[in-house]
Subunit: 339 residues, 2 copies
């Protein structure tokens, strides 16, 4: 078991018989190196199994190749997939990622966020909801003049700083789907009011209902809080109505799961007595009975595109990138055609 010692740029330079600057040029793909020299240097790099020291690079460069992913911690599935995408892209282009959970309700949040940003010497940040909806937080980032990409922000953000999904549109499609299955009395459970983007989902529902000429009955529009239990509470009310809805569209899966639990408790079968659809395609949706019809956001792709957009900005590349990524409906077994 031989202990390996990392080699330095000087070692490479010695082996290739060039100056360290030349090695540096090769590493960073800078111009003005003869092909022959490049070959020599690359051979030496391979031979020594050389890896540049990221700290030394960061220290020497003005802008370190480090970005951070900021998130709260409500949903493991959401954040893991976003993170996957971000890490995958950054790994390709040789950026480091610092993962930073921040408790949304913590006192001194801004102070600790500021401290973090300072300490980490970030080049830029990727921000997920609910922080991407938080004006104060975004101002903080701007006060550092840091490039950023906000994921699914409900704020009025310039396109070059944001990545969004077409929640409103898919939500409309989902409602259309319900309508095309004969449903008219379609209840809607809204999401947490501070999550702006989730409320686009309600708008999509409104769009579809309006277009179909079905008047929205506000007594079957509930205000949820994204959690299982809040879904249950909404469902209790909805299902105890004299004129029950035939379908419930929940703005997220977790609340939809709450609806299904309450339905079973009340002796209702899904989907024969009640159709239910959700949003997010969280892993459990395939596991519950019946499997839930829901909307899948391509989270890995969102993470990847966010990282790409941010890094392109950092490197002053032309960015004519798409900023809307399409979600799509996953049809499963929780909707029944009625007449």
């Amino acid at each position: 078991m031989s202990i390996k010692k990392a080699s330095t740029i000087q070692d490479v330079a010695n082996k290739a018989k060039v100056s360290i600057k030349t090695v540096s040029r090769v590493i960073n793909n800078e111009p003005n190196v003869s092909l022959e020299t490049v070959k020599k240097v690359e051979t030496a790099i391979d031979l020594l199994d050389y890896q540049p020291n990221a700290f030394a690079q960061s220290l020497a460069r003005s802008k370190p190749k480090i970005i951070s992913l900021i998130y709260d911690t409500p949903s493991p599935n959401y954040i893991s997939h976003i993170m996957e995408g971000v890490l995958a892209y950054c790994y390709k282009v040789d950026y480091e990622v610092i993962i930073h959970p921040l408790r949304f309700n913590e006192v001194g949040l801004m102070r600790s966020a500021e401290k973090f940003i300072k300490k980490s010497r970030l080049a830029g940040l990727i921000v997920t909801p609910p922080y991407s909806d938080n004006v104060e937080f975004i101002k903080l980032i701007e006060s550092f003049d840091l490039p950023k990409v906000l994921i699914s922000s409900g704020l009025n953000i310039s396109e070059e700083d944001s990545i969004k999904t077409n929640d409103r549109e898919v939500s409309m499609q989902m409602t259309d789907y319900l309508i095309s299955n004969g449903h008219k009395r379609i209840a809607f459970i809204k999401g947490h009011p501070t999550h702006l983007c989730i409320n686009d989902r309600f708008k999509g529902y409104q769009d579809a209902m309006n277009r179909a000429g079905i008047e929205i009955d506000n007594s079957i529009v509930e205000n949820g809080l994204n959690s299982l239990s809040s879904g249950e509470q909404c469902a209790e009310r909805l299902l105890s109505l004299k004129e029950r809805p035939t379908a419930i569209f929940s703005s997220n899966d977790e609340m939809a799961a709450g609806v299904i639990k309450v339905a079973y408790r009340n002796g209702l079968n899904i989907p024969s007595d009640l159709s239910v659809v959700g949003f997010d395609d969280s892993p459990m949706t395939a596991m519950i009975t019946p499997p839930l019809t829901t909307v899948k956001q391509p989270l890995d792709a969102i993470g990847e595109k966010s990282a790409e957009k941010l890094i392109d900005k950092l490197e002053n590349k032309e960015l004519v990138r798409e900023s809307v990524i399409n979600s799509n409906i996953i049809y499963r077994d929780s909707v029944k055609k009625i007449n």
Copy 2:
């Protein structure tokens, strides 16, 4: 919106009218600084809102304060919670964490792992399953002489390098619970064979059955692969047996969910016709009907303890730390008492 510029150790030294070395001493809690000087320096630090530059520190120090968390990507819930714990502890003691997903089945895995370790100049690693069971991978770490903590490794690892849970014991308790509810014909679905620790769960089942003097019928011991669909397949077989089990103990929740789906498909009610228990307490277990009785591992605590153990090692602290963390059963509604 004023753009803030980070201050350096020199700024602090100027303001406090001392040398940079003295500032460095204060930052690192080194001895031989008069109380008065410490006060002066600390005031200057506060005034300038100074944060040491982690790269410069890492570069100057031999050992950077950076560790990495290595994982595959099967389970968002598992890894997010472990990560939470690791990040929380590291944040407290001022270590950076690099999160590194590695595809288990990728070709050139070892090569890319090696490259990663070199490049990141890690001080140590925390390794989760399945890598903590991978001899080749562990040898790689050792070839770099890097301190490590292996989470839930099934290998014969020295206690100071590992954090485990009492899977075998809880698994025995769970089986006891089933037995005490009148079940004798208890099926078991084993987990993926390369995940060593998951097979401790089977041992616990054996322990309990043996102790209760119930002979284990191998025709109701299934080999699962941790996935929903593999749970379904096992359940298909189990439930088509002439002499059906009255309870099924699945080594993870996902397979248990598969069992429940198949049971419903076959017109069986849970728990009245069949009791089912799982392992992991993944979020969906509370959402399915009926809520599943399962085992909860304190994942955040595992992450935190792993980080603590690793960092104590890095800093040569005495480590008389516990290395086994207790899981416990979460009783819900998927088990019925039979006679």
